[in-house]
């Protein structure tokens, strides 16, 4: 089992540690709902150092990446971040990733922890031209500072004006209380916030500096439990649930990150066909009508026939409702449609509703 460099800190803060994709990570400190609400109303600090980082360098780096992804990298400027999917030829998803453009010949790719090995192999197997692909995960540690107070807190530690840093932009080589790092206005909570990349050996000091700066803003450490309920309310996909090798980005409703007319890329033909014919199944939001909570993997039925499954489901701490995301037969994915969810051998009614459940509050 791998540990991040903040493992001892999490334990001393009283965190409950869990195995997440082979990593011992903090599930919660004070409690998932409390941490969730802190991020929505003030701020929370997450250790997400388990995420994988892959550096792609070389004259052909841009072209090489363009062939692997569904989004269009050609318009990405230096210091911009791109969210995209990598697909298999059949349109299934290899991973959902962030691409940081350092310059024309150098890109930092941030991948899901559990997919790092797979992504590396996938990239390596398609490598051509003057390109180097290197796993730099161990060099980087990553903290996510999220919530409406995130900017106030981080501003105390840096000289650059953070209000000028727009959504999905980043600044490299920033001096953060004496620690050099990269700051991006990104996150996975539906709130405004930042992700801060520093070299692994300085992450412990950075954690302390941010927690100290955040005291006056009631900053709390937040765990993966709150990270999951926050991203769920904002309907941000989680690989392994809303996305997988068997689920295409179009089925997951991520059409705006799929640029079919940008030129050739792996999976394009399959995705063009899905786009032309319409997808057979589609990710939809569900609100429970009957009392109960739908969970990942539960079957969804209509007239006693299986029409899909729940990808994520939980109590929404912000909306105080039991909600779910489900991959449904497209004919049943219309807003307002009533479906049944099989919960412990009982059929409970749920209604298709609009997503995201929680309207994201990004600073664009």
């Amino acid at each position: 089992m791998k540990k991040t460099l903040l493992y001892d800190k999490h334990v001393s803060l009283g965190a409950k540690m869990i195995d997440f994709g082979g990593w011992m990570m903090p599930l919660q400190y004070s409690g998932i709902i409390q941490e969730h609400q802190a991020v929505r109303s003030e701020a929370g600090l997450f250790d997400v150092s388990h995420m994988g980082e892959i550096m792609v360098e070389g004259k052909a780096a841009g072209e090489f990446i363009q062939r692997l992804i569904t989004n269009d990298i050609s318009r990405l400027k230096d210091s911009q971040v791109l969210y995209t999917l990598m697909c298999y030829p059949d349109g299934g998803t290899v991973d959902d990733i962030l691409i940081y453009k350092l310059n024309d010949d150098k890109y930092l790719i941030v991948v899901n922890a559990a997919n790092t090995e797979k992504d590396l192999e996938w990239m390596e197997s398609h490598r051509e031209g003057t390109v180097a692909v290197n796993d730099v995960s161990e060099q980087y540690a990553l903290l996510a500072l999220q919530g409406p107070r995130a900017q106030d807190i981080l501003q105390k530690l840096v000289d650059i004006p953070l209000e000028q840093l727009r959504f999905f932009r980043f600044i490299d080589e920033v001096n953060i209380a004496g620690i050099p790092g990269l700051i991006s206005r990104t996150g996975y909570t539906g709130e405004d916030g930042f992700e801060v990349y520093v070299s692994a050996h300085s992450v412990s000091r950075l954690w302390d500096e941010i927690m100290e700066a955040g005291k006056e803003y009631n900053l709390v450490p937040a765990g993966l439990g709150a990270r999951d309920t926050l991203r769920f309310e904002a309907a941000l996909p989680l690989y392994g649930q809303e996305l997988s090798g068997e689920i295409s980005p179009l089925e997951a409703g991520l059409d705006r990150f799929v640029k079919l007319d940008k030129g050739g890329f792996i999976g394009r033909e399959a995705l063009i066909k899905q786009s032309r014919d319409g997808v057979q199944r589609k990710l939809a939001g569900l609100e429970m009508v009957d009392r109960g909570i739908a969970r990942h993997g539960y079957q969804v039925k209509a007239d006693d026939k299986i029409i899909g499954h729940v990808t994520s489901g939980n109590f929404s701490p912000t909306l105080k409702k039991n909600l779910a995301l489900a991959l449904l037969d497209t004919r049943f994915a219309e807003e307002g449609t009533l479906v049944d969810i099989s919960v412990r051998n009982k059929l409970l009614k749920a209604k298709v509703v609009k997503t995201p459940f929680y309207v994201k509050r990004y600073k664009k």
């Binding site: 409950k16 599930l27 919660q28 409690g31 998932i32 709902i33 409390q34 439990g225 309920t229 009392r291 109960g292 909570i293 969970r295 939980n314 109590f315 701490p317 039991n322 412990r344």
Partner: protein, 127 residues
């Protein structure tokens, strides 16, 4: 972790308060703490029969759903409907906020449960 004297405890972390042939069942402090924020309680129908080891109730936290096993056999004569509206009461005081009352068929089944001291030791082994 809090335990209360005078109760019986199961290996599944339920507590039982015995009053004649009536057994009031709830979950322990250890159970509520490991579940985390409780957001839903599914209660059985009063009047239904249970066998020891059945799972007539379910408690769900943000993390997961967890079956509540009946430590004894008998008839469920009362459920704590307040928990349907305020499931978080279990987190606040798991020993006050009981889940169900069972009229026992065989009070001898209580002998297989632990007393307070035994349960404390048992929890140390679980950690």
């Amino acid at each position: 972790m809090k335990v209360v004297d005078g109760l019986k405890y199961s290996k599944d972390h339920e507590w039982v308060k015995v009053d004649g042939n009536k057994a009031t069942v709830g979950i322990t402090d250890y159970a509520q703490d490991s579940l985390g924020d409780i957001v839903f309680v599914d209660l059985p129908e009063p009047g239904s029969d249970v066998n020891a080891g059945d799972a007539p109730a379910v408690v769900e936290s943000v993390k997961a759903a967890s079956d509540i096993y009946s430590p004894v056999s008998g008839t469920i004569i009362e459920v704590n409907a307040e928990l349907e509206v305020s499931p978080e009461l279990i987190n606040e005081d798991p020993y006050k906020n009981w889940i169900m009352v069972i009229e026992m068929k065989d009070p001898g089944e209580l002998d297989s449960l632990m007393d307070t001291g035994e349960y404390e030791e048992y929890c140390k082994g679980e950690a």
